[in-house]
Symmetry: C2
Subunit: 237 residues, 2 copies
DNA sequence: ACCTGAACACCGTTCAAGT
DNA sequence: ACCTGAACACCGTTCAAGT
């Protein structure tokens, strides 16, 4: 079957898929990211991705070695979206901006954070990102050991916050407030007195937004790193 | 329906499934946790879990409403494994121990962290855990607003660290060192100078262990929270 | 009340075959 | 070089049926 298709080929080749670019890895990755953003990562299958690209699922294997490779590629592409720290600012300003950018990327692509710990093979954008962060600490006067400490502490906080933020059933906005209200009603005050207090007197305040906690913790960590750096610098000087 | 069950009951009931306990939710959850620990969460299917329990997959639906409920139940069971902060110690000591316990649980069950942000419906163990952590801050002299800050910052760090730790291709031990050596060889020093430096002069040191970074960052955050608490307390007093 | 068998609508991936 | 169709070995979940 399929041999009926042969016959005379026109001298000038017809665009095989008219009006549609040929498939390539970048197009596969960006479409996969869009699908994950729109419908959630659990709905992203090779078959759905193929459909979206006007191609059979099996064609994807020409551009991606398997689904794990697809997911790793998506993560690396997201690292490309993060603003790199710039070198003509203080380490603190540069890394504050970078951290805000990381969080913005994770808000845009909520499925990504949960995938990052299984993405063992770091791609080039990921490596470049980490290299620039390390460089920012080193050029800011951090010793090598203190750079390792600082890198770990800062990124633990930043990625951890994004994770907490996602897990929270409330955030801000009206529907969230309504939901928090319902939750409060179901919460046995006797059994969980402190949760009850937090919900009743803090979370249900008019202007409440969990998102604002990010800045507090970020400043807390950056200030603490600055102090840690200075104290060891004094010790050595 | 169900009225067919009436009739004469034998005086002594026969064990229905000989030598095997009857299925119940707790047994389903603990078996699922064990399977996830042993073979990884991606291998945990309703069918495999049924097999392990000597039952068809469909029987599980009598004890769990669907797979999401199963996963939520597993997460809540893990919260039961975490040592609660004890009230007769200082907030700092109590929360240090609790944080170490959280990390230990996440090391024992590496699949759990990635699931927590999708586990929207917190179970009773989860609620109790959070309530006790909040209570520890409150009784330690933190204002309600500062408790919210502290809770967010501390747990962002703790869960974030566990996440980073899992993502890292090296940790400690001999095979890890060998792997780091290979990675270093493949790392273009010109393109990633700071990554190269960190690997060559820090990670490949004989006694290196990323795990030790946990304590540094934990102390950093706890100390910073103590300072933040005291400075607002002064402001108010 | 709890368990099962068959079925449905999906998965990721392989392989040989097509152009 | 890239794409496809058929097939394999799986999924989660439903439903009617059994005890």
């Amino acid at each position: 079957m399929g041999s009926e298709e042969r016959g005379e080929m026109p001298a000038r080749r017809v665009q095989r898929t008219e009006g549609r670019e040929r498939l390539n890895r970048a197009r596969v990755l960006e479409t996969a990211i869009r699908l994950a953003d729109e419908d959630g990562i659990e709905k992203l299958s090779m078959r759905r991705l193929g459909d979206e690209l006007g191609v059979e699922a099996m064609s994807l294997y020409n551009h991606v070695s398997n689904k794990e490779d697809l997911l790793n590629g998506m993560i690396d592409a997201l690292y490309g979206e993060i603003d790199l720290p710039v070198h003509d600012e203080s380490w603190k300003t540069a890394l504050r901006k970078r951290s805000v950018s990381v969080r913005a990327v994770l808000l845009r692509h909520p499925w990504a954070n949960g995938l990052m710990d299984s993405a063992t093979h770091a791609g080039p954008s990921t490596m470049r990102h980490h290299d620039r962060v390390l460089g920012t600490f080193r050029n800011g006067g951090f010793s090598l050991a203190m750079t390792a400490h600082a890198f770990s502490a800062l990124d633990s906080y930043v990625y951890g916050f994004a994770k907490q933020e996602k897990a929270l059933p409330f955030d801000s906005g009206e529907e969230a407030a309504a939901m928090a209200h319902v939750m409060l009603g179901q919460l046995p005050a006797g059994e969980y007195p402190y949760l009850h207090e937090l919900m009743a007197k803090h979370v249900l305040r008019p202007g409440y937004s969990y998102a604002e906690e990010f800045a507090f913790g970020l400043e807390l960590v950056l200030d603490a790193l600055e102090r840690a750096k200075d104290s060891t610098a004094e010790g050595k000087a």
